[in-house]
């Protein structure tokens, strides 16, 4: 393998990992931006997305339907949770949200175990992307290229939605001053339910997309929640662009770090976070803490 081919495959690998991390991070950061809630159930909902995706893909015989419906279903679960439970807690302090979202994580994890059983389940990559593409003569999984494209499309779509649509305007306004938005006659509660649902749906989208790489498994929830927090802390809590930069940094550091210094594979992400916290305690694009 030539050095150039190696570099290229590693870059695309890093981009594909960053795409998966981005779906997690952006959902978490949107929810935090609007509601000032750290959603501990984010990893569990990511896992739920993978399992719902498994069932849909098997039921419909196509991955694409799972890719569309699983995020919608999990998003609806998230919105219902906001409506039914979180809404009652807004006058309490932050610890109430930590407890209740942690509780949701436990409930989702056990529910998945009861419904789908304890074993990992296979979600094959869609036929269209199950082969390899040659990058400078080196075979590379087409599915990973698809992940890069999906990540880029979603990043642009979310960015445009935040900047150009009325919902985006409301989200940005609510995150800056919810009381003022409320005073202007907007139903802030509806915005909150919507954003919580969207954030959960994005996590589920990440889960469905990750499933062909790692299978749908229970450990997804616990291993991924830490990555999501690290991304949000690096990028800055509540910052959309920050979550994108955080995901890219973590993706690249993990892939290149693992390759050149495999013994320190676990440490790189945390070292990066430490560095960011020392230089900019509020995260790269966050408000100064």
């Amino acid at each position: 393998m030539s050095t150039l081919a190696l570099l290229l495959t590693q870059v695309v690998n890093a981009l594909s990992q960053s795409a998966l991390l981005f779906f997690l991070g952006v959902g978490l950061t949107l929810i935090f931006g609007i509601m000032r809630i750290v959603n501990f159930a984010h990893g569990a909902l990511y896992m739920l997305g993978a399992f719902v995706g498994y069932s849909l893909a098997h039921w419909a015989g196509t991955f694409w339907l799972a890719l569309v419906l699983a995020p919608l279903i999990v998003g609806a679960v998230g919105a219902a949770f906001e409506l039914g439970i979180l809404r009652r807690l807004y006058r309490r302090d932050a610890s109430a949200f930590l407890l209740v979202t942690f509780g949701l994580a436990l409930v989702v994890t056990e529910a998945v175990r009861l419904i789908w059983g304890p074993d990992a389940l296979q979600v094959p990559a869609p036929k269209l992307f199950s082969g390899v593409v040659f990058l400078l003569g080196e075979p590379f999984p087409a599915y990973r290229l698809f992940l890069v494209a999906a990540g880029a499309v979603m990043a642009i779509a979310i960015w445009q939605a935040l900047e150009r649509t009325r919902l985006g305007l409301l989200i940005r306004a609510t995150s800056q001053n919810a009381e003022m938005v409320h005073a202007l006659g907007i139903d802030v509660n509806l915005v909150r339910s919507g954003v919580f649902g969207i954030g959960c749906g994005l996590a589920a989208l990440g889960g469905v997309l990750a499933a062909p790489l790692v299978t749908a498994s229970h450990a997804m929830a616990s291993t991924v929640i830490i990555d999501a927090f690290v991304i949000v802390i690096i990028g800055g809590m509540g910052s959309f662009a920050g979550s994108l930069i955080g995901a890219l940094l973590v993706g690249f550091v993990q892939v290149f770090g693992n390759y050149y210094l495999p013994d320190f594979a676990l440490a790189f992400m945390y070292l990066l976070m430490l560095l960011v916290l020392v230089v900019r305690p509020g995260g790269l694009l966050g408000k100064e803490a």
């Binding site: 190696l6 495959t9 999984p141 495999p262």
Partner: protein, 405 residues
């Protein structure tokens, strides 16, 4: 108003007891508590190796259920104490200690990770407890870390590596690279395999270790391909194994090199499907092993679970059979009686004859090389036995992890 102080107090005591008692403790039969044979299983039921712990649980539960229907062992019912350790050695020691001290349980099995087992064995003498391993791979448990109250009924990591190396000798693969999980078992097995390859004059190009819970195996796959080796040796389990196999298939790694693995489990074959076809490895247990005891066991398993038993379900079953034979021979479960009874005990097991040799308490047993194939009647690929190696070849010399020939 009538006051019933006795009833109230009893209710309070019962309530407190229920609240204090751990929710995972499963009591199969309540009567004759003093006479029951308690077997403690601190298992990794959740976490990356949760699927292994779940298999061990199912294996032991079916055995206990069927044996209790027959009246138990020595007329005493079997009670399993099952707790989740999440695969954490400190938690495992704490839960095992609780079983010993609170429930007076002196028999242990099913400890899922070798790192957990290595943390447990120094405590066995103090606890006066016997621990029969059903899946711990680390060779040190019957070598430098050996303690008299430890027995290993299962095929160890070095034995699995040995089977692969005996197969490599047959298949004439000339160069290897190795990928292992970055903890006790992974390092130990890769080391044994490396030594074996060096003795066979096979070019061992290099090795790399991945932390448990790795989601992206692309860098490791790149390294394996770059090595240019003819074969790759894998020491992976659980979710890591699934992730690696799924991703390696997407890279079409198997078209470049032979993929050999230290252990093949059905749970992984179900999880990754066709991505596992063609994989060759040692199976500590496979439902396709051709022995009368195994045929009987597979039928019992099908009747209960409507499916065939997996690797650690078979291994746990064999381990329970060792307990049964040992306790029957000793006439009790006290460590002082059970230890000598287990030494040089022979049983006819699902894998054929198993001898619990006295020198290092390793179960001397056959080794099986299997190939993953698709077969009619199964909705997932299955392991087919392609070579059976005699126990003398697969079991290392006493207290050793390496082989001399």
């Amino acid at each position: 108003m009538t006051i019933r102080p006795r009833l109230t107090r009893r209710a309070v005591v019962a309530g407190t007891g229920a609240a204090v008692a751990s929710p995972w403790v499963w009591t199969s039969a309540r009567a004759q508590a003093g006479g029951m044979i308690k077997i403690g299983m601190p298992l990794a039921l959740t976490g990356p190796l949760g699927s292994v712990g779940q298999q061990q649980k199912r294996g032991a539960e079916l055995y206990a259920k069927l044996q209790n229907e027959k009246g138990g062992i020595l007329g005493r019912k079997i009670e399993l104490l099952i707790e989740d350790t999440v695969g954490n050695p400190a938690t495992c020691v704490r839960k095992a200690q609780e079983m010993v001290e609170r429930y007076d349980c002196r028999l242990l099995t099913g400890i899922t990770l070798s790192s957990e087992a290595l943390a447990i064995v120094p405590k066995l003498a103090e606890w006066n407890a016997i621990f029969i391993s059903s899946d711990n791979g680390d060779g040190r448990l019957t070598a430098e870390s050996f303690v008299p109250n430890f027995f290993r009924a299962n095929t160890s990591g070095p034995m699995g590596a040995r089977v692969v190396s005996l197969y490599v000798k047959q298949a004439k693969i000339k160069s290897f690279f190795a990928l292992g999980l970055d903890y006790a078992w992974g390092h130990n097995s890769v080391q044994v395999f490396e030594d074996e390859m060096k003795r066979l004059k096979v070019n061992f190009i290099g090795k790399v270790f991945a932390p448990t819970g790795t989601k992206d195996y692309s860098t490791y796959i790149t390294k394996i391909r770059q090595s240019g080796a003819e074969g790759v040796y894998l020491v992976l389990a659980g979710d890591d194994n699934n992730a690696f196999l799924a991703q390696a298939a997407q890279y079409q790694l198997a078209s470049k090199m032979a993929m050999l693995t230290e252990q093949i489990e059905l749970v992984a074959l179900r999880a990754v499907g066709d991505a596992s076809v063609g994989l060759i490895g040692s199976a500590r247990y496979a439902f396709t092993i051709d022995t009368p005891a195994n045929k009987e066991f597979v039928e019992l398993w099908k009747a209960e679970h409507k499916t065939v038993p997996d690797t650690f379900e078979g291994e746990q079953w064999q381990c329970m059979k060792v307990f049964e034979a040992g306790i029957t021979k000793a006439g009790g479960i006290e460590a002082d009686k059970l230890r000598p009874a287990l030494e040089d005990l022979t049983i006819e097991s699902v894998k054929g004859k198993v001898l619990m040799r006295k020198c290092d308490h390793q179960g001397v047993q056959k080794g099986f090389a299997v190939k993953v194939v698709k077969k009619e009647g199964f909705d997932h690929p299955i392991p087919e036995v392609i070579s059976t190696f005699p126990a003398e070849q697969t079991t290392p010399p006493c207290n050793k992890m390496t082989y001399e020939d």
